[in-house]
Symmetry: C2
Subunit: 144 residues, 2 copies
Amino acid sequence: MNDLDIAEVAQRSGVPASALRFYEEKGLIVSTGRRGMRRLFDPGVLERLALIALGQAAGFTLSEIAEMFAPDGHPRIERERLTVKADELDRRIERLTAMRDGLRHAASCPAPSLLECPTFLRIARLAGKGQLQLPPRRAVVRAG
Amino acid sequence: MNDLDIAEVAQRSGVPASALRFYEEKGLIVSTGRRGMRRLFDPGVLERLALIALGQAAGFTLSEIAEMFAPDGHPRIERERLTVKADELDRRIERLTAMRDGLRHAASCPAPSLLECPTFLRIARLAGKGQLQLPPRRAVVRAG
DNA sequence: GTACAGGTTCAAGTGAACTTGAGGTCAAGG
DNA sequence: CCTTGACCTCAAGTTCACTTGAACCTGTAC
Protein backbone atom coordinates (compact mmCIF):
# COMPACT_ATOMS: atom_id res chain seq x y z
CA MET A 1 0.00 0.00 0.00
CA ASN A 2 1.24 3.46 -0.87
CA ASP A 3 -1.52 5.00 1.16
CA LEU A 4 -0.59 7.96 3.30
CA ASP A 5 -1.09 8.21 6.99
CA ILE A 6 -2.74 11.30 8.37
CA ALA A 7 0.52 12.88 9.45
CA GLU A 8 1.93 12.60 5.96
CA VAL A 9 -1.17 14.11 4.43
CA ALA A 10 -1.02 16.92 6.95
CA GLN A 11 2.60 17.57 6.23
CA ARG A 12 2.31 17.47 2.46
CA SER A 13 -0.88 19.46 2.22
CA GLY A 14 -0.28 21.88 5.02
CA VAL A 15 -3.72 21.05 6.40
CA PRO A 16 -3.58 20.16 10.13
CA ALA A 17 -4.61 16.64 11.12
CA SER A 18 -7.46 18.05 13.17
CA ALA A 19 -8.83 19.72 10.05
CA LEU A 20 -8.44 16.50 8.08
CA ARG A 21 -10.52 14.63 10.63
CA PHE A 22 -13.02 17.44 10.52
CA TYR A 23 -13.18 17.28 6.73
CA GLU A 24 -13.70 13.54 6.81
CA GLU A 25 -16.53 13.94 9.28
CA LYS A 26 -18.07 16.49 6.92
CA GLY A 27 -17.72 14.13 3.98
CA LEU A 28 -15.21 16.27 2.09
CA ILE A 29 -12.57 13.58 2.06
CA VAL A 30 -12.57 9.85 2.75
CA SER A 31 -10.03 7.65 4.42
CA THR A 32 -9.45 4.38 2.60
CA GLY A 33 -9.02 2.37 5.79
CA ARG A 34 -7.11 2.08 9.00
CA ARG A 35 -3.81 0.72 10.11
CA GLY A 36 -4.63 -0.18 13.64
CA MET A 37 -6.77 2.76 14.56
CA ARG A 38 -4.94 5.21 12.35
CA ARG A 39 -6.48 6.57 9.21
CA LEU A 40 -5.02 5.88 5.80
CA PHE A 41 -5.60 8.12 2.81
CA ASP A 42 -5.26 7.61 -0.90
CA PRO A 43 -2.65 10.01 -2.33
CA GLY A 44 -5.46 11.51 -4.44
CA VAL A 45 -6.63 13.20 -1.29
CA LEU A 46 -3.91 15.79 -1.85
CA GLU A 47 -5.50 16.98 -5.06
CA ARG A 48 -8.84 17.05 -3.36
CA LEU A 49 -7.45 19.14 -0.56
CA ALA A 50 -6.03 21.57 -3.09
CA LEU A 51 -9.48 21.87 -4.62
CA ILE A 52 -11.02 22.41 -1.22
CA ALA A 53 -8.56 25.21 -0.50
CA LEU A 54 -9.30 26.68 -3.87
CA GLY A 55 -13.03 26.54 -3.34
CA GLN A 56 -12.63 28.24 -0.02
CA ALA A 57 -10.51 30.96 -1.55
CA ALA A 58 -13.31 31.51 -4.02
CA GLY A 59 -15.78 31.97 -1.22
CA PHE A 60 -17.62 28.66 -1.15
CA THR A 61 -18.62 27.13 2.16
CA LEU A 62 -17.45 23.64 2.97
CA SER A 63 -20.95 22.30 2.46
CA GLU A 64 -21.09 23.82 -0.97
CA ILE A 65 -17.76 22.29 -1.83
CA ALA A 66 -18.96 18.95 -0.52
CA GLU A 67 -22.00 19.15 -2.77
CA MET A 68 -19.84 19.80 -5.80
CA PHE A 69 -17.84 16.71 -5.05
CA ALA A 70 -20.91 14.55 -4.61
CA PRO A 71 -20.86 11.67 -7.11
CA ASP A 72 -24.65 11.69 -7.41
CA GLY A 73 -26.21 15.12 -7.78
CA HIS A 74 -27.74 16.95 -10.67
CA PRO A 75 -25.04 18.25 -13.02
CA ARG A 76 -27.24 20.95 -14.56
CA ILE A 77 -27.89 22.60 -11.28
CA GLU A 78 -24.21 22.45 -10.50
CA ARG A 79 -23.35 24.16 -13.76
CA GLU A 80 -25.79 26.92 -13.01
CA ARG A 81 -24.38 27.36 -9.58
CA LEU A 82 -20.91 27.64 -11.01
CA THR A 83 -22.00 30.41 -13.30
CA VAL A 84 -23.73 32.18 -10.47
CA LYS A 85 -20.56 31.92 -8.41
CA ALA A 86 -18.46 33.16 -11.28
CA ASP A 87 -20.68 36.21 -11.58
CA GLU A 88 -20.44 36.78 -7.86
CA LEU A 89 -16.70 36.60 -8.17
CA ASP A 90 -16.77 39.17 -10.95
CA ARG A 91 -18.49 41.61 -8.65
CA ARG A 92 -16.14 40.87 -5.81
CA ILE A 93 -13.12 41.32 -8.02
CA GLU A 94 -14.45 44.65 -9.20
CA ARG A 95 -14.90 45.90 -5.68
CA LEU A 96 -11.57 44.59 -4.52
CA THR A 97 -9.88 46.31 -7.41
CA ALA A 98 -11.52 49.59 -6.51
CA MET A 99 -10.53 49.14 -2.90
CA ARG A 100 -6.96 48.40 -3.90
CA ASP A 101 -6.83 51.56 -5.98
CA GLY A 102 -8.28 53.51 -3.09
CA LEU A 103 -5.67 52.13 -0.74
CA ARG A 104 -2.83 52.90 -3.10
CA HIS A 105 -4.04 56.42 -3.47
CA ALA A 106 -4.52 56.83 0.24
CA ALA A 107 -1.01 55.58 0.86
CA SER A 108 0.42 58.45 -1.14
CA CYS A 109 -2.15 61.07 -0.22
CA PRO A 110 -1.16 63.88 2.13
CA ALA A 111 -4.47 64.15 3.99
CA PRO A 112 -4.01 63.40 7.70
CA SER A 113 -6.89 60.92 7.79
CA LEU A 114 -8.45 58.73 5.15
CA LEU A 115 -11.75 60.39 5.79
CA GLU A 116 -10.29 63.74 4.82
CA CYS A 117 -8.94 62.59 1.48
CA PRO A 118 -11.49 63.54 -1.18
CA THR A 119 -9.96 61.31 -3.81
CA PHE A 120 -10.18 58.32 -1.54
CA LEU A 121 -13.76 59.13 -0.74
CA ARG A 122 -14.58 59.39 -4.41
CA ILE A 123 -13.02 56.04 -5.16
CA ALA A 124 -14.77 54.63 -2.14
CA ARG A 125 -18.11 55.85 -3.37
CA LEU A 126 -17.54 54.24 -6.72
CA ALA A 127 -16.49 51.00 -5.14
CA GLY A 128 -19.35 51.09 -2.66
CA LYS A 129 -22.04 51.01 -5.31
CA GLY A 130 -24.38 48.08 -4.92
CA GLN A 131 -23.52 47.71 -1.29
CA LEU A 132 -27.03 46.58 -0.51
CA GLN A 133 -26.33 43.41 -2.44
CA LEU A 134 -23.53 42.06 -0.32
CA PRO A 135 -22.45 38.46 -0.79
CA PRO A 136 -23.74 35.88 1.69
CA ARG A 137 -21.91 35.44 4.94
CA ARG A 138 -18.67 33.55 4.51
CA ALA A 139 -15.62 32.72 6.45
CA VAL A 140 -12.18 32.08 5.10
CA VAL A 141 -9.43 29.99 6.56
CA ARG A 142 -6.72 31.00 8.91
CA ALA A 143 -3.20 30.86 7.56
CA GLY A 144 -1.34 27.69 8.57
CA MET B 1 -30.48 69.84 13.77
CA ASN B 2 -30.55 67.77 10.65
CA ASP B 3 -29.14 64.81 12.49
CA LEU B 4 -30.54 61.42 11.64
CA ASP B 5 -32.13 59.03 14.05
CA ILE B 6 -31.02 55.43 14.05
CA ALA B 7 -33.96 54.21 12.01
CA GLU B 8 -33.22 56.69 9.26
CA VAL B 9 -29.59 55.71 9.18
CA ALA B 10 -30.59 52.07 9.06
CA GLN B 11 -33.02 52.68 6.27
CA ARG B 12 -30.73 54.83 4.15
CA SER B 13 -27.63 52.72 4.64
CA GLY B 14 -29.22 49.32 4.64
CA VAL B 15 -27.36 48.51 7.85
CA PRO B 16 -29.67 47.13 10.57
CA ALA B 17 -30.04 49.21 13.72
CA SER B 18 -28.59 46.36 15.76
CA ALA B 19 -25.47 46.49 13.64
CA LEU B 20 -25.27 50.26 14.03
CA ARG B 21 -25.33 49.93 17.81
CA PHE B 22 -22.72 47.22 17.52
CA TYR B 23 -20.52 49.45 15.35
CA GLU B 24 -20.83 52.29 17.81
CA GLU B 25 -19.82 50.01 20.66
CA LYS B 26 -16.80 48.98 18.60
CA GLY B 27 -15.90 52.58 17.95
CA LEU B 28 -16.50 52.43 14.20
CA ILE B 29 -19.11 55.15 14.26
CA VAL B 30 -20.15 57.76 16.80
CA SER B 31 -23.55 59.12 17.68
CA THR B 32 -23.61 62.87 18.05
CA GLY B 33 -26.05 62.81 20.93
CA ARG B 34 -29.47 61.65 22.00
CA ARG B 35 -33.01 62.82 21.63
CA GLY B 36 -34.47 61.42 24.80
CA MET B 37 -32.72 58.10 24.84
CA ARG B 38 -32.55 57.72 21.10
CA ARG B 39 -29.29 58.03 19.27
CA LEU B 40 -28.72 60.79 16.77
CA PHE B 41 -26.18 60.54 13.98
CA ASP B 42 -24.51 63.11 11.82
CA PRO B 43 -25.40 62.51 8.15
CA GLY B 44 -21.71 61.91 7.54
CA VAL B 45 -22.19 58.55 9.18
CA LEU B 46 -23.62 57.33 5.90
CA GLU B 47 -20.33 57.90 4.14
CA ARG B 48 -18.54 56.21 6.95
CA LEU B 49 -20.84 53.23 6.73
CA ALA B 50 -20.14 53.00 3.02
CA LEU B 51 -16.45 52.92 3.82
CA ILE B 52 -16.98 50.24 6.41
CA ALA B 53 -18.89 48.11 3.93
CA LEU B 54 -16.16 48.68 1.43
CA GLY B 55 -13.47 47.71 3.85
CA GLN B 56 -15.33 44.55 4.70
CA ALA B 57 -15.73 43.68 1.08
CA ALA B 58 -11.99 44.12 0.75
CA GLY B 59 -11.45 41.61 3.50
CA PHE B 60 -10.58 43.78 6.46
CA THR B 61 -11.84 42.94 9.91
CA LEU B 62 -13.86 45.53 11.77
CA SER B 63 -10.95 46.18 14.11
CA GLU B 64 -8.65 46.85 11.19
CA ILE B 65 -11.17 49.25 9.73
CA ALA B 66 -11.50 50.96 13.08
CA GLU B 67 -7.74 51.38 13.22
CA MET B 68 -7.69 53.01 9.81
CA PHE B 69 -10.26 55.51 10.97
CA ALA B 70 -8.36 56.30 14.13
CA PRO B 71 -7.58 60.03 14.26
CA ASP B 72 -4.46 59.49 16.38
CA GLY B 73 -1.97 56.97 15.13
CA HIS B 74 1.29 57.20 13.35
CA PRO B 75 0.66 58.30 9.78
CA ARG B 76 3.75 56.67 8.38
CA ILE B 77 2.89 53.34 9.79
CA GLU B 78 -0.61 53.66 8.47
CA ARG B 79 0.67 54.44 5.01
CA GLU B 80 2.87 51.39 5.08
CA ARG B 81 0.01 49.24 6.20
CA LEU B 82 -2.12 50.55 3.39
CA THR B 83 0.48 49.59 0.85
CA VAL B 84 0.83 46.18 2.40
CA LYS B 85 -2.92 45.74 2.24
CA ALA B 86 -2.98 46.88 -1.36
CA ASP B 87 -0.38 44.27 -2.23
CA GLU B 88 -2.36 41.65 -0.40
CA LEU B 89 -5.38 42.65 -2.39
CA ASP B 90 -3.41 42.28 -5.60
CA ARG B 91 -2.67 38.69 -4.76
CA ARG B 92 -6.22 37.98 -3.76
CA ILE B 93 -7.55 39.51 -6.92
CA GLU B 94 -5.22 37.35 -8.96
CA ARG B 95 -6.39 34.19 -7.30
CA LEU B 96 -10.04 35.12 -7.48
CA THR B 97 -9.66 35.86 -11.16
CA ALA B 98 -8.11 32.45 -11.74
CA MET B 99 -10.90 30.85 -9.78
CA ARG B 100 -13.51 32.71 -11.74
CA ASP B 101 -11.99 31.53 -15.00
CA GLY B 102 -11.92 28.00 -13.64
CA LEU B 103 -15.56 28.20 -12.69
CA ARG B 104 -16.59 29.55 -16.05
CA HIS B 105 -14.74 26.80 -17.80
CA ALA B 106 -16.18 24.18 -15.52
CA ALA B 107 -19.67 25.49 -16.17
CA SER B 108 -19.34 24.79 -19.87
CA CYS B 109 -17.19 21.67 -19.64
CA PRO B 110 -18.72 18.32 -20.57
CA ALA B 111 -16.97 16.20 -17.93
CA PRO B 112 -19.50 14.58 -15.62
CA SER B 113 -17.68 15.72 -12.50
CA LEU B 114 -15.41 18.65 -11.81
CA LEU B 115 -12.75 16.25 -10.67
CA GLU B 116 -12.73 14.64 -14.10
CA CYS B 117 -12.26 17.86 -16.03
CA PRO B 118 -8.56 18.19 -16.79
CA THR B 119 -8.80 21.83 -17.77
CA PHE B 120 -10.45 22.69 -14.50
CA LEU B 121 -7.81 20.79 -12.60
CA ARG B 122 -5.08 22.64 -14.46
CA ILE B 123 -6.60 26.02 -13.74
CA ALA B 124 -7.18 24.91 -10.18
CA ARG B 125 -3.54 24.01 -9.79
CA LEU B 126 -2.54 27.40 -11.08
CA ALA B 127 -4.94 29.21 -8.83
CA GLY B 128 -3.99 27.04 -5.91
CA LYS B 129 -0.35 28.01 -6.03
CA GLY B 130 0.79 29.51 -2.80
CA GLN B 131 -2.05 27.85 -0.96
CA LEU B 132 0.08 27.58 2.13
CA GLN B 133 -0.02 31.34 2.33
CA LEU B 134 -3.75 31.76 2.76
CA PRO B 135 -5.06 35.15 3.85
CA PRO B 136 -5.88 35.61 7.55
CA ARG B 137 -9.24 34.57 8.82
CA ARG B 138 -12.00 36.83 7.67
CA ALA B 139 -15.73 36.99 7.69
CA VAL B 140 -18.00 38.82 5.32
CA VAL B 141 -21.42 40.25 5.96
CA ARG B 142 -24.73 38.62 5.46
CA ALA B 143 -26.98 40.07 2.75
CA GLY B 144 -29.60 42.47 4.11
C1' DG C 1 -53.15 61.17 29.71
C1' DT C 2 -52.38 57.04 28.19
C1' DA C 3 -51.30 53.51 24.68
C1' DC C 4 -47.66 51.98 21.96
C1' DA C 5 -44.27 51.71 18.26
C1' DG C 6 -39.95 51.72 18.41
C1' DG C 7 -36.23 53.01 20.71
C1' DT C 8 -32.71 51.43 24.99
C1' DT C 9 -29.29 48.01 27.61
C1' DC C 10 -27.21 43.69 28.49
C1' DA C 11 -26.59 38.94 27.98
C1' DA C 12 -26.78 35.15 25.41
C1' DG C 13 -27.26 32.82 20.94
C1' DT C 14 -25.74 31.82 15.90
C1' DG C 15 -22.96 29.71 12.19
C1' DA C 16 -18.72 28.74 9.89
C1' DA C 17 -14.57 26.40 10.33
C1' DC C 18 -11.79 24.72 13.03
C1' DT C 19 -8.86 23.95 17.52
C1' DT C 20 -8.14 22.26 22.05
C1' DG C 21 -8.52 19.23 25.96
C1' DA C 22 -9.41 15.05 28.38
C1' DG C 23 -9.01 10.47 28.46
C1' DG C 24 -8.05 6.28 25.79
C1' DT C 25 -5.51 3.03 22.32
C1' DC C 26 -1.89 0.88 20.11
C1' DA C 27 2.33 -0.17 16.85
C1' DA C 28 7.04 0.28 17.03
C1' DG C 29 11.48 0.61 19.33
C1' DG C 30 14.64 -0.57 23.01
C1' DC D 1 7.58 -6.60 27.97
C1' DC D 2 6.96 -2.11 28.51
C1' DT D 3 7.33 2.63 27.49
C1' DT D 4 6.38 6.20 24.39
C1' DG D 5 4.56 9.14 21.07
C1' DA D 6 1.38 9.79 17.76
C1' DC D 7 -2.94 8.73 16.75
C1' DC D 8 -8.05 8.01 18.29
C1' DT D 9 -13.00 9.96 19.94
C1' DC D 10 -16.05 13.21 21.77
C1' DA D 11 -17.23 17.42 23.77
C1' DA D 12 -16.42 21.91 24.48
C1' DG D 13 -14.06 26.20 23.33
C1' DT D 14 -12.70 30.12 19.93
C1' DT D 15 -13.25 34.08 16.68
C1' DC D 16 -15.93 37.21 13.89
C1' DA D 17 -19.79 39.83 13.05
C1' DC D 18 -23.78 40.23 14.21
C1' DT D 19 -28.77 38.92 15.83
C1' DT D 20 -32.15 37.88 19.22
C1' DG D 21 -34.47 38.00 23.57
C1' DA D 22 -35.89 39.93 27.85
C1' DA D 23 -36.93 43.66 30.43
C1' DC D 24 -37.35 48.45 30.29
C1' DC D 25 -38.16 53.49 28.76
C1' DT D 26 -40.30 57.43 26.14
C1' DG D 27 -41.74 60.85 22.29
C1' DT D 28 -45.75 61.12 19.58
C1' DA D 29 -50.50 60.35 18.21
C1' DC D 30 -55.02 60.02 19.56
